[in-house]
Structures are given as C-alpha cells and as structure tokens.
Amino acid sequence: MATRKKVLLKVIILGDSSVGKTSLMNQYVNKRFSNQYKATIGADFLTKEVVVDDRVVTMQIWDTAGQERFQSLGVAFYRGADCCVLVFDTTAPNTFKNLDSWRDEFLIQASPRNPEHFPFVVLGNKVDLENRAVSTKRAQQWCQSKNDIPYFETSAKEGINVDIAFQTIAKNALAQESDEGIDSAFSPSLTLGSSSDSNNRPNSSDCSC
C-alpha cells in the first residue's frame, strides 16, 4: 500500500446574502476581517490543513454566493460534499427562517445517500452586534429538530467560536468521509455470453488478432 494520502474534505457554506459566509471563512483561514461588504460572485474557495484525531486533513472550504443572481456554479458542484455549513445572521430573523430552504436545497442538489445523517453544522453569526433578534434557544430548537445539528454562535469579526466551529465541521466531515464498508464489495467476476460483451466479436474493426 502506498503512503497514506491526505484526505480532502469538501465543505460547502450556504446561507442568505450578507450573513457573513465569506467573513467566517476568511476569519478561519486568514484570521482577517473586513467590515466592507462585497457580494461573492459564483463561488470562492480556500484550503486549510487541520489535524483531526491525529490525522492531517485538507479542508477545501467553498464559499458560495448568497444572492441568487450570483449563484452560478450550480448543482453539480454541491455533489460530493463532506459537510454543509448553514449560516444565518442572529440579528436578522429572515436569514434564520431561510435555513430550512437552504438545507432542503442542499439535500436535493447534493443528493447524499443518507440525507438524514448527512453532517450539517449551523452557525449563528454576528453575535458581537447588539440588536440580537434570534434567540439561542430558538436556534437550538431548530437544530435539534433536524437530527441534532451542531450549533455554534459565532462572530467572524471578533473571531468568537470560529475555530471550534470549523474544527467540529472537519471532524464531522471526516467521519462521514471515512465511513468504511464499500471498498470491500469488489466482485470482479464476469460471465461470458452476456449482452455487454457483444462488441467483442472478432469482426470489430480494431481487433488485433
């Protein structure tokens, strides 16, 4: 067996526009924050290496466009995600209400095999602001109702809870990625005369015998 390869974990961040998806990613990877708002066009990603349970893994974090008119990478691109991060703004109730549709949208597009147990993480961002409008309790209740999604209250600006949230994301993503049990089912056997080998007849043009 060759040397153990580093696992790549694909993480998708979803949520309404201006909830702080880009800022969270930027704070986590680059430890930087800017107050200026700039819409993400299409998608953007950063990679970061983290250690999870003594394994070095690479997180490929995809920041997506919250504004519908900029969502152009499409569905193909959600496929094969290892974890989905849903972000809302704790000062904007609408962004919280929309979590349902973001989650549904992801499950439809990504169509993971086991949607009930697909790892999501919910982040209530902007807790540094004073005009709080979504209570912790309300957010936790929603998360519990969806199969106990881990919930973190974060501030991308102050860097509150960002590291621990992403550490959880990495851990849950890795657990999902390394779920064993499908590699072994290799049954190579072949039956002659089945329909699939009809193109092996000797008169096919590229035959070299």
Binding site: Q36, G42, G74, A76, A81, F186, P188, S189, L192, S208
Partner: protein, 497 residues
Amino acid sequence: MSDISNFSDDDDSRQEDCALVDALSELNFEENNIENIRKRKNSDNQEQSETNSDPCSSNSLNFVDEEYDYLHDSEWINQKCQVFILSTAGKPIYTLHGDEDKLNPLFGLLQALVSVVSVSSNGNPDEDDDCIRSITAKNTKFVFLIKNPLILVGVNKSKRSEQQILNQLMDVYNQIIFIVTLKHMKNVYEKRNNYDLRKLVAGSERWIDHLLKDEKQTRISNNSFVSLMHSVRILPMEATTRDNITKTIQTNCSKIKNLVFAVLIANNKLITLVRMKNYCMHTDDLRLIFNVVECSESFKTAENWLPLCLPKFDPNGALYCHISYLSDDCEACLLLMTVDQESFSVLSNAKKNITEKLRRSNYMEAINEGIKDKGINLKTIGVPDIRHFLYKNKKNTQLLCSEITTPYNTLEQFERIEAMYYDLHNRIHRVSRPLKLIYEMHEHEIQLAWVTANYELYATFEPLVEKKSIIIAQVNKLLKYIKKEEDKIFMTGTHIF
C-alpha cells in the same frame, strides 16, 4: 489560476478575487494567468512592476498551502504534459507531476471549470451536450474528458491536437477501468459521491505514470508510437516458428475450460495471441496489457494471479490473469486469462508445460533473437535516404517501425521527430478535411505521410534528397520489402483454442 483560491489582503481587490464566474466567462482569464505565471517565473525576486498588473499577484503565494507552491516551481510549470484526474465532486485522484495533496486548490478550480460550463446546460454532467471540452491559451491546450464519475484533464504545451490529447486521456481512463472496473467504480460513487478513489487505485499509479511515458531513460523508443497509431508491434520471427509457438499454446490449453485469451509478449511486442472462439482482443486492451507488463518488474520473479479488467472487452468485469515470464533466460511474458476464479493451478501447470515444450524445441532462442531486434535496419534493405519510418498495417492494426538511429537517438531530437509525426498524423486524419498524401520539406528532414486502404506510411528522409524520383523509388523499395517479409514482421491469421 490564482484568482479563486486566493484571499486578498487588501479589500479592494476582493471583487476580482471573487469574480470566478465573471473571469471564467472570458477565456482570457486563463490566458492572462498563464501569462502571469510565466512572468512571475521570469521575474521572481527581480521586479515587481511586471506583475503588478495582476490584482492577485501579490497574494499568489497563498495558492497552495503553506508547504509548497507548485505555481512557483518552474520545473512543474514547464512540464510539457500534465494530466490530472479528479472525481466529479472535485476530489483529487491523480496528477502526473507533483503531489496531488498539494494541488488541492488546482483540483478545486478544475471542478469549478467543469461545473460552471455544465450549469449552462441542465447542470447534469452526465449529459454530453454543453460540457467544457478544451481551453487554448497561446501554446498550451487544456483538454477535458468528462466520464462521470471522473474528470480527466490533459494540459499540453506540445503541438498535439485536441483529439490526440483526448486519446491520451481515454487511455488513462481505460487504465483506471483496467484496475477498478467500471461497474465497481460506479457502484462506489453511487453509494458515496464524495468517495476518494485513491483508495482503490493506490499502488497502481505507476501504471498510469508509465502509460504517460514520463521516464526519460525509456523515452527514446518506437513504443511511443503505438498509442498515436492505435496499434501494436509484433516481435519479428519466421512464420513457421510463430506457428509452432502458437500450436504449443493451443495444444496445452485447448482442454482448459473458460480460458478466454492466451497472450505471449516480449519487449513490448506481441509474439502470439490465442483466443476463445467468438471473442476478440481489442488493440486498446492489448496496449494496456503491454503497459502493465512493462512496468511491473515483480512479474519476472513469480507467478501472478490478478483480476484485470479489459475495458473494451467488458468494462464491467475482470478476467483472472495468470501472468508469468517463461523463464530466466527468456524474457517473454505469458498471460493466460480466464473467467474462472478457481483455475490458478490448472493454468500454472499449462504454463509449465508450454515452457518445457518451447525449450525442447529451441523456440526460446528464436524468441530471444526477436527480443534483440531494434526495428528494421534501413541500410541493410537498401533505402539509405530513409532515416525512419512508421508503417501501420490497417487490417490487423499492427505497427512496424525502423530502428531509431542518428540523428534521432538523442532525447531532444527524438522528441522533435515524435512531435512531427504527431503533427503529420493529425493533419492527414483531420476530420474536416482528411488527406491521402502529405509531402513536406523541412529544414532538417523531408517527411512523407501516405494513407491507403490497407496501410499508413509515415517516413522521414534525409533533407538533401534532390529528386522526388529517388524518394518514390526508395518508398517503393521499402513497400516491396515489407510485402516480401510480411509473414515474418506481422502476425497474420487468427488462432483459437
């Protein structure tokens, strides 16, 4: 390429950084970047001014993780040929050069390129319409082969055509199927579309490396032309000797049930092939077998029993292959391929008997003679103005080449003439306007390509042959020689158990 991976320190360039889709919609995105990469390479540590026009250049160090930045590795950048394989989810599977772990951002970008184009159709990568096929940026071609659940990308700086690069990617794809089987691969991805296929390919990457002919030591070889010509080469020997070797295999295998193919090869050339009635070995499959045998030293020391999938034969299942060399003093490799998982000992016995019989009849010596052959020697057959040729027998897709001699026996010159053959082949077979004959005088040689119903000839002549009549006379002489020796240099007829 740095555009999307990079987060900018200064917020003013953030807009550009994010503008993946905008940037992708204009092809000069790639072009600019390639320019910039080149510029950066040249101006590294020298002058900032040149790269300042690129809004991301100051941050391009962030492109790859802290460990290593391939985009500043001039050796990596300047590779003539790059091949990347990823899953449609964007998970890295293989890179020809470098370490795919350190190229994660690049794989992300490649997936984004594929996604953004398929979005404009129905977002369904399974559909053939509207998928990215290639990007051309100055002298670099990026060619995409989307074979759900895999994406293969070839990047080539040589003159190869899009179709030729695509053929190379097809070979690589088939090599993966050869290892994993299509059915198993699809099953795995159906169950988990975030699967890391490296778990299944691990240990076999060198088969892909070897297929892409990366090793410089073995680069100067006529073997480079088999994939271009979609053909196999035949070990030269007297027709009666070949017949007798074939008969030896037939007699020892005729009673073995479920044996589909027996293939005897040496030095990347076919000695003989015996098959079950109604089944056929495709040239593409045979080339994969050659590839795997050539780069697996371990086959020389022991009997091997491997399930291998021949993608053209049946991509969904594997044949069990008994693989072993005839003996220490005869480096010919015998492959016995069956559908019966339990027949190792039967095949092992058959192989022993075949070896003994071949030794007693002195056929091993004949094989060893053939192994020494370096290709047709043009001086001895009296065509001194031909420097090198490729002759494809179209009927049985077999390729004949002449020995590689001066001036083409240096790496630089070999790669030059190889590129010329690729170019010639591309132009004569161009779909929009196929040709029958090309005759060209170049600075260093004269080249001729000629396609007929029965064969294709690509020949390289001394540059100073003044009269066309001399060329015509020598070509005719060569063709006459090939006709005369046909039984020896090609394998004719088919053999069944």
